[in-house]
């Protein structure tokens, strides 16, 4: 029943056995030991499990692990390290964008994806980009502000 699934997560190759019904989210959390991606609803509604799969933003609870065979994945653990946060993570920290933090991994990936596609987003672009990521703590303002600030920082860095 189980088959071998080999993929690259945050630049590291991972190979584990997975049942056909195992979701990519469960594979990441239980086989790869990466619990940053969150199980909030398992029906693609909350966005807590968002990851980048070959550059596309996906909800990993709705994808089977076997479908990701050979894929390049980025999860929250791949965005920055505690000693070297990404500019987006820095902006979230400075702006107080994280409260309970449960939605934050998904938010960060949705925002990373947005800034890759659109380096100069306006408020509505940002709201649209994170509209698939529910947050119950913040009312979104400080998250929107942080993403906006990260875009500014990146622009500044590009000069």
């Amino acid at each position: 029943m189980k088959s071998s699934v080999k993929l690259t997560v945050n630049g590291l190759e991972q190979e584990h056995q997975a049942e056909p019904r195992t979701s990519l989210l469960t594979f990441l959390r239980e086989q790869c030991g990466l619990t940053g991606s969150k199980r909030g609803c398992e029906e693609g509604e909350c966005g807590g499990c968002s990851v980048l799969l070959d550059g596309e933003l996906v909800t990993s609870c709705l994808i089977f692990a076997v479908e990701a065979q050979g894929a390049q994945l980025v999860t929250v653990e791949g965005l920055g390290t505690p000693h070297h946060l990404s500019p987006l993570q820095e902006a979230f920290a400075t702006d107080g964008a994280s409260q309970c933090g449960f939605c934050i991994p998904g938010m960060l990936l949705a925002a990373t994806n947005l800034l890759e596609r659109n380096p100069d987003p306006n408020e509505q672009d940002i709201r649209k980009a994170i509209s698939g990521n529910l947050c119950r703590c913040t009312g979104y303002d400080l998250i929107v502000a942080a993403i906006s600030m990260a875009a500014e920082l990146k622009k500044g860095a590009r000069g």
Binding site: R21, R29, G33, L34, T35, G36, S37, K38, R39, G40, C41, E42, E43, E45, C46, G48, T75, V76, E77, L79, G80, T81, P82, L85, Q89, F92, A93, T94, D95, G96, S98, Q99, C100, G101, F102, C103, I104, P105, L108, E123, I126, R127, K128, I130, S131, G132, N133, L134, C135, R136, C137, T138, G139, Y140, D141, L142, I143, V144
Partner: protein, 753 residues
């Protein structure tokens, strides 16, 4: 209170937990890892809203390959549990009382096998008629959810009346009937709200182990580890010292993670299987088995004088309590503070009944009882002003609560900053009472809110390290950034940089008893205790420095890691040196602090919502939202702003889209597809103004901040809708379907008249 010279309090330092949360390292309920194998637990929950359990047969489930343990009521002591009224068996033994009531539990090597095993458990039910509405439940011929109610043990607050009324509370002052008789006009209206789920992003999750020394360790996502520990120990029938509860990071609570859930099932399955057991609710289970905000049926009656005074009010409230009393019964007791609102009404009576129904157990949700009652109070303020031809703002100002106003329990309210708070909202929004319209079908609405913040018994320990840095040990759950604020409080009190203060939330074995993180009192209680602990530490350090400084302790001060003689900056000794010199003789420097309960003191807020109503579809769009809040002193302003904005967002959900619906006792919306909480596209920027005026109690004059901002939102939006389209909706949520119908009815009424 005197102006304070504060260095660290009042700064928006980043949260101390932020890096772990931004890098995916924070361990939430489901993320806890232990060495060795782990079992997955699943709960068999009742599919029926009301039934007698005649027989449970678990034999087939136990035989399934991969199943390691099955638990039922037979595995626990035959005791009824409950914090206010002992009305619940942990596993249903005689009856099930709502869809989701716990019947049995299974632990297996995988979730799938556990789910398969649930299907093999045979339960024979005898169905009973279900109650989905508390008004029906109060009819004399209604079936009884708890036929033995009057024999149940009352623990606190609940006052069973009989029938399905598990608590009846009434408080009054003056003579409301006489007040109505003398009033110039009397207004009466009914308001209805639905059950609202906390919808925290992290579903309930726990992991339990039964240990070789006959103790249990329970890791769980909870707002209060000590309350949880006591509940688990009670249900397991063991002394509290034999249960250790470790609070994990918590993915939102809002009152929904106070009551024990599947922890005892996990602990029992671990005892029976010999392995750790993890139980994680699915989102559907969480919607079904959570503790939502109670639905209210409110009848509000207000008498006003010719000169715009509120002279009398009665409020009769029927709460949809759900299947067990839990927090809803306690809420009855807390409701009087809201009936009066931020006003002063001489003749006042509040009567509330908490009524059993065959639905999820209602309990606390951010400002329990606040938004429901405020929806009635502040809708009435505007309705009365409109009917009387008064300026609603002037009407409010005339009746605002003064300083030292006694609440219904007789306690004088202190630090009443309601007028300043109202003015702040008017200023940021540019609100003009004569011009609430913003164009066709567009208008603004105002509502004031209040929430009285108490305090719960709590203790803490502050340890000075050899190098002069300090660790604060608490048993409080860091739900809203409290460990960050406590870091600032301790740093300020000891005059240390924040880098030299660490605040950690430890487990029930390691920390002194702490309040739960709820009721907006966490920082007030724990911060007060921390300031006390810091005072003890200072006192000990000053006594150690008597010899070195040749001065008395009352002439000393702490600054920059040194003890100094006041007024003689050259006479100093480094704390580090004092500790090194005296450790051998005097032992370590450790301070402890603790507080009992505080009486409840008010925090206020004022909100202004700008809406656009699509009169064809009934859809409401928020154009702008302004919120001011009376915070006393903002220990960390960004955290305060985040609390205000988040509270507003939850209020918007309650106002416009959220409500748990049931059909014949069956829950209808148990996922985010059907239960819509606001997304980033549903909200405007929430313009926030913190009103700072140090309060008479609380660390450095800080007030509680978490609950108030969700209180006035439904009323502010309902008032804006009225100002936009002339329709007063008196039930929540004001979803497009309801508003469209109301607009249509108004048009038809106008056409026919």
């Amino acid at each position: 209170m005197e102006a304070q010279d504060l260095k660290i309090v009042g700064r928006s330092i980043p949260r101390v937990d932020v890096t772990s949360k931004l890098t995916g390292q924070a361990l939430f309920g489901e993320d806890v890892k232990l060495p060795g194998p782990l079992l997955h637990g699943k709960i068999l929950r009742s599919p029926h809203p009301h039934a007698i359990v005649k027989r449970i047969d678990t034999a087939a489930a136990e035989k399934l390959a991969g199943v390691k343990a099955v638990a039922t009521a037979a595995d626990l002591p035959d005791v009824r549990i409950g914090k206010n009224l002992k009305d619940e068996h942990y596993f249903a033994s005689d009856k099930v009382r709502f869809v989701g009531d716990r019947v049995a539990a299974v632990a297996a090597v995988s979730r799938e096998i556990a789910e398969e095993a649930l299907r093999l458990i045979e339960v024979e039910y005898e169905l009973l008629p279900a109650l989905t509405n508390p008004i029906d439940a109060m009819r004399p011929d209604a079936p009884l959810v708890h036929p033995d109610l009057m024999n149940y043990q009352v623990v606190a607050a609940a006052q069973p009346e009989g029938g399905n009324v598990c608590s009846l509370n009434s408080l009054s002052r003056g003579d409301p009937e006489a007040g109505f008789a003398e009033a110039h006009q009397v207004f009466e209206q009914q308001y209805i709200t639905e059950m609202q789920h906390q919808a925290y992003m992290e579903p309930h999750a726990c992991l339990a182990t039964y240990n070789p020394d006959n103790t249990y360790t329970v890791y769980t996502s909870t707002q209060g580890i000590f309350g949880m520990r006591n509940s688990v120990a009670e249900a397991l029938g063991v002394p509290q010292n034999r249960v250790k509860v470790v609070g994990t990071e918590i993915g939102g609570g809002f009152g929904g993670k106070i009551v024990m859930k599947d922890e005892v099932a996990a602990a029992t399955l671990s005892r029976k299987s010999g392995l750790p057991v993890r139980i994680v609710m699915t989102r559907a289970e969480d919607f079904m088995c959570g503790n939502p905000r109670a639905g209210f049926y409110i009848t509000i009656k207000t008498g006003v004088s010719k000169d715009m005074r509120m002279v009398a009010r009665t409020m009769e409230i029927v709460l949809d309590g759900g299947a067990h009393a839990m927090g809803a019964a306690l809420m009855c007791w807390a409701l009087p503070q809201f009936a009066e609102g931020p006003y002063s009404i001489p003749n006042l009576r509040v009567t509330s009944r908490c009524v059993y129904t065959n639905k999820a157990n209602s309990s606390a949700f951010r400002a329990p009882g606040g938004p429901q009652t405020n929806f009635a109070v502040e809708s009435e303020t505007e309705r009365i002003a409109t009917a009387m031809g008064w300026d609603a703002l002037a009407f409010r100002r005339k009746n605002l609560m003064p300083e030292d106003h006694p609440n219904l329990a007789g306690t004088p309210m202190r630090s009443v900053n309601v007028e300043e708070t109202l003015d702040a909202a008017l200023e940021i929004s540019g609100y003009d009472p004569a011009q609430t319209g913003l164009g066709p079908n567009r208008a603004r609405g105002l509502a004031l809110g209040n929430w009285n913040v108490g305090g719960m018994p709590t203790g803490t320990v502050l340890k000075m390290n050899d190098d002069g840095s300090a660790n604060l040990i608490t048993g409080v759950v860091d739900l809203t950034g409290v460990n960050t604020s406590l870091t600032q409080v301790v740093a300020e009190a000891l005059q240390l940089p924040v880098e030299k203060v660490t605040v950690k939330s430890l487990d029930t074995d390691s920390a002194p008893h702490a309040a739960q993180s709820a009721g907006s009192q966490t920082l007030k209680s724990m911060g007060t205790a921390a300031v006390q602990a810091a005072q003890e530490v200072k006192q000990q350090l000053f006594e150690l420095a008597v010899e070195e400084l040749d001065a008395t302790p009352d002439n000393m001060e702490l600054a920059e890691g040194e003890v100094r003689v006041q007024g003689s900056p050259e006479r100093t000794v480094a704390v580090r040196k004092l500790l090194a010199k005296h450790m051998a003789n005097s032992g370590p420097v450790v301070g402890k602090g603790g507080t009992g309960a505080f009486s409840r003191m008010p925090s206020f807020c004022a909100h202004i919502a700008d809406v656009d109503v699509d009169s064809e579809t009934g859809r409401v769009t928020l154009l702008r939202y302004c919120a001011s809040q009376d915070v006393g002193v903002a220990i960390n302003p960004v955290i305060c702003i985040g609390q205000v904005q988040g509270g507003v967002a939850q209020g918007v959900g309650m106002a416009l889209s959220e409500g748990l619906t049931y059909q014949d006792g069956q829950p209808q919306n148990t996922g985010f597809l059907d239960y819509k909480i606001p997304s980033a596209l549903d909200l405007p920027m929430i313009e926030t103004k913190l009103v700072e005026k140090p309060a008479v109690e609380g660390p450095f004059g800080a007030k509680g901040i978490g609950e108030p901002p969700c209180v006035p939102v439904p009323a502010a939006i309902a008032n804006a809708i009225y100002n936009a389209v002339g329709v007063r909706v008196t039930s929540l949520p004001i979803n497009p379907e309801k508003l469209r119908r109301a607009i249509k009815a108004k048009k038809e009424g106008q056409a026919s008249s």
